[in-house]
């Protein structure tokens, strides 16, 4: 009975050890990305197999784009607030509301133009095949999703 119990416990401990080793080994890359300074960019490097030089260039483009994006966010928030106040003040479409809607559309178009420029710039720093894959992936998740029929 004692020998049988030892085998039973040994088998369970061995299974737990194998589980832990394989889990930790297979998730090492993911855990490393999460611990990095910029996990999103670390993921981009991993996902699109970027070399160190390519990653450096992508990081520079990313850093340069973020202030533009923040400025757009500010303008969009301000425009949304303006439109919200106009909508709350009336029960019909006024010329002011029409103007605000046009302005919102213009902002959205400008935002998409800037994003697209950035996406193309990033894709050009990647190897051609990865660049195409990146463009398809990022466009699908940004402005192309805005036009999807639900």
């Amino acid at each position: 009975m004692r020998k049988g119990l030892l085998i039973l416990v040994f088998g369970l401990m061995a299974a737990a050890a194998v589980y832990g080793c394989i889990y930790l080994t297979c998730t090492a890359s993911a855990r490393s990305m999460e611990r990095s300074d910029k996990p999103e960019l670390a993921w981009l490097k991993e996902e699109f197999n970027l070399s160190d030089a390519e990653f450096k260039r992508v990081s520079e483009l990313h850093a340069a784009y973020l202030p533009q994006c923040a400025e757009m966010c500010k303008q969009i928030d301000a425009q949304n607030l303006r439109l919200k106040k106009l909508l709350a003040a009336t029960n019909q479409v006024t010329p002011e509301i029409e103007t605000a809607i046009v302005e919102s559309s213009r902002l959205r178009g400008e935002c998409q133009r800037q994003m697209l420029e950035h996406f193309y710039a990033v894709s050009r720093t990647m190897p051609p095949e990865q660049g195409r894959r990146y463009l398809a992936w990022v466009q699908d998740r940004t402005f192309l999703s805005d036009f999807a029929m639900q």
Partner: protein
Amino acid sequence: MKTDKPDHRDDALRNVLKEWHSDAALPPRFQENVWRCIQLAQAQTAPSLWAAVAHWIGTMLPRPAMASAYVAILLVVGATAGWTQAHHTNVRVANELGARYVQQLDPYQAVRP
């Protein structure tokens, strides 16, 4: 030739039993009590699940072939579970980081403070 048929054995006893009569009345619910005793005896003799497992651990598991198979199966189960769980974790992390990357770039998806 000797035969084991019961009809040919204990003829004397059989004759005595045929001639024996008793006027004593059976106690109340005699048959029911007999069946209860039989069921109780059977229940006590039937091995429980734990006893069966303990018996298997004590007698079967120490056999080299059985021990090897047991450990091998557990190793495969542990490895499969570890790989599957790691795959789920990797997919989840990739989706989360991909979504965060897009949120940084798209003002219409950005998480406002």
